[in-house]
């Protein structure tokens, strides 16, 4: 038995978006809440098909929103020694930062890098998004990263 069925994402989004926005505005203010809102639901959507049942979805999405808010606040502060080790581990560059950093890469490489390291997508998801295959996606991301590394170290 599977417990409560997972609702179609549209219904889940319609049900929880206002509460998510309310939480994000409280923590981040009106302006920063907008980006965080999009990031929250993109993260939720990305994890959605791996859910095993439809229970506690409200708590689940509010947890994602809180994590996005924490990441947003952390990013706003200059990185310094006050970051704990575990916080540093999680501080994956957010997709918009990565988008700025990768500006100037060839388009395919840039998309692959942002999708892989900004959104944490798997290579087969990236291949789908780019209309290519898994090997090409992996290749594009790794070429992109090498190019960035050269650019940063030179």
């Amino acid at each position: 038995m599977h417990g409560v069925a997972i609702p179609p994402f549209e219904l889940f989004y319609a049900e929880h978006r206002v509460e998510v926005m309310r939480l994000l505005r409280r923590r981040l203010g009106r302006e920063r809440a907008e980006d965080a809102f999009q990031e929250t639901f993109l993260r939720a959507l990305q994890a959605y098909r791996r859910l095993e049942h439809g229970e506690h979805l409200r708590a689940w999405v509010l947890t994602i929103a809180r994590n996005v808010a924490i990441d947003t606040l952390r990013r706003a502060r200059p990185a310094g020694p006050e970051l704990t080790e575990s916080a540093a581990e999680d501080s994956r560059p957010a997709y918009e930062e990565l988008a700025a950093l990768t500006d100037g890469l060839p388009q395919k490489e840039r998309a692959a890098v942002v999708l892989r390291y900004g959104y944490d997508l798997s290579y087969d998801q990236i291949a789908d998004a780019l209309g290519s295959n898994e090997d090409a996606a992996r290749q594009a991301a790794s070429t992109g990263v090498r190019r960035l590394r050269r650019r940063i170290t030179s």
């Binding site: 997972i6 549209e10 989004y13 206002v18 959507l45 959605y48 098909r49 998801q125």
Partner: protein
């Protein structure tokens, strides 16, 4: 508190662009009423005359997965071809179809159905014969009645042996309107 339309649209577009959506859907206006149109990564999955999407969404989730989101861009191709069809400028559709989950008999009937030309009609019995089951006219009728992709899979072109329109899941008025548009009546 409301979510601004621009933010809502931005999220939906990003979700589709990132390939996170199993099925995108939207309503498409047409002379036979608003159509619920859904497109999966495999192709056109559903057209429904019932513009209230909730029941459709549950059904689609069972077929194609739960990541279903309203997104106008996902149905752009289907919308364009339907617009052209209703304007009388398109007689065949070039859309890939997602027929996942259908039994083999249904799929073979639908393949034959897709071959019935614009502006012509055929009968349930003829379709039954074409799939090698000449006595299965009634079963063919059931397949027509449950057709997930009406208009594009032209079940409106299937009529009774005596030429009566017989029935249509979207209502006989719509069947008449489609056949009139095609010049078949």
């Amino acid at each position: 508190m409301t979510i601004s339309p621009a933010l809502d649209r931005g999220f939906r577009e990003a979700a589709v662009a990132l390939g996170l959506v199993d099925v995108g859907f939207d309503l498409v206006e047409s002379p036979v009423g608003d159509l619920f149109v859904a497109v999966s990564e495999r192709g056109l999955a559903s057209i429904s005359y019932d513009p209230e999407p909730e029941a459709q969404l549950e059904r689609l989730a069972r077929i194609a997965g739960p990541c279903i989101l309203r997104s106008p861009r996902s149905v752009d191709n289907a919308r364009r071809e339907l617009d052209q069809y209703f304007a009388g400028r398109r007689h065949t559709f070039d859309l890939t179809l997602d027929l996942r989950g259908l039994p083999p008999f249904t799929v073979s009937v639908l393949h034959e159905l897709a071959l019935v030309p614009y502006g012509e009609t055929t009968t349930y019995g003829t379709l039954a014969s074409r799939v090698g089951r000449p006595r299965a006219a009634r079963a063919v009728g059931t397949v027509m009645n449950r057709n997930r992709i009406p208009i594009v899979l032209p079940c409106h072109r299937v009529v009774g042996a005596g030429g009566d329109l017989v029935g249509y899941a979207g209502g006989l008025e719509r069947k008449t309107a489609l056949l009139t548009l095609e010049g078949a009546l």
